[in-house]
Symmetry: C2
Subunit: 204 residues, 2 copies
DNA sequence: GTCTATAGTGGGATAGAC
DNA sequence: GTCTATCCCACTATAGAC
């Protein structure tokens, strides 16, 4: 069974740029430990989310798939928000790892490697992407450290240029959202949109 | 199902002038009339939405603000989806009108006029923007015609270039969404992000 | 066109027994 | 750690009286 808690390795930082700022914060965060049972509950919730979307995740459904009753969950997690935060943290780390892998596997064009991985991950996890992106993030250490991990590959590949990196992120987030919501005109050449956007925003 | 989609057919829009395609479809759509009472219900729902977000809009709340009971609403509208479609249609038309006004009031740089109006409208109507963009649109004529109206100014200002227009839309939608969800790093120069993105994506 | 009454379904969460 | 029982909440929607 694949561990949803995989992390990406450390990244070398060079100058005083966005990379260094984020890395230094990441180093100060202590992520609280979850019990094995709590992790299991979150993994099961994730399965239900990816199958049925956000509304499918209820304490009753999660408990049922675990073979217990809903009240039992409260012995392991304080409330439903804790489950959601756990799912979001896993999603952010998974997305970050995918982008990092895309960067590493595309040495000649690492930006495109990251972007392609970003898009693929979102299309493969539409409901998790929705959960991750639809609301402000919980400021707690669990989610916060995962958030910093998620953007690492893009920051790296944009050489820590904050404006350039956030601009590419905005474009990619917007386009993948339109794709997921089926909002592009029928017959649109989606690949051409990605190419045009990224080539226009690529740093010189 | 979708009579509006069927009129256009699966046309590849990528290499054609998006203006003509959309305008010709818009001309064929007959928007169904709503009774005055139905319009009033939708307007009240819109007030509640803008104040309290999507979850605040329930048949009970809408009815309460109208001074009636929830079951009475069903004499004027078939179900809750009809209310949501009405709100979405109003939102799309309002956004389109704002962008059109922005274009007209910025003769020297109409693209920037549209983009600025787009951003301002979204920041002023965050919950309505969320409702409009968070899910696939109902294919019926009411929403469909409003959708075509919404993108008119941007299509015009991009000279009907579908790829360029949709790329700018993706960027703008992504960035304004990140703004609304408070997902940009603290201290980000948001204006700089808009400038950098739009100037990079602006057609020559 | 509005009302009362209600069906039917779902949700999060707690208390206390075992 | 799990259970039963329960609370209280919310929601969409329908039937039928007035």
């Amino acid at each position: 069974m694949s561990s949803a808690w995989d992390r990406t390795g450390p990244v070398a930082t060079a100058n005083r740029d966005l990379r260094e700022i984020r890395e230094s914060e990441l180093a100060t965060i202590e992520v609280p430990e979850l019990t094995p049972r709590a992790k299991q509950i979150i993994d099961i919730s994730l399965e239900i989310l990816e199958e049925g979307g956000r509304e499918a995740v209820s304490m009753r459904h999660v408990a049922a798939r675990l073979g217990v009753r809903a009240p039992s969950l409260y012995k392991h997690l304080p409330d439903k928000q804790a489950i959601e935060n756990g799912m979001i943290a896993i999603g952010l780390r998974s997305q970050g790892a995918a982008c990092e892998a895309g960067r590493a596997s595309s040495e000649d064009d690492p930006l495109w490697g990251v972007v392609h991985a970003f898009r693929r991950w979102a299309l493969e996890h539409p409901h998790l992407y929705d959960l991750m992106m639809a609301a402000p993030l919980d400021p707690g250490p669990l989610v916060r450290s995962a958030e910093l991990t998620a953007g690492r590959a893009l920051r790296e590949v944009m050489n820590g240029d904050a404006v350039a990196a956030l601009t590419v992120w905005s474009f990619g987030h917007g386009l993948v959202t339109l794709e997921l919501c089926d909002r592009l005109p029928p017959g649109s050449d989606v690949e051409a949109l990605w190419r045009h956007g990224i080539e226009s925003l690529r740093p010189d």
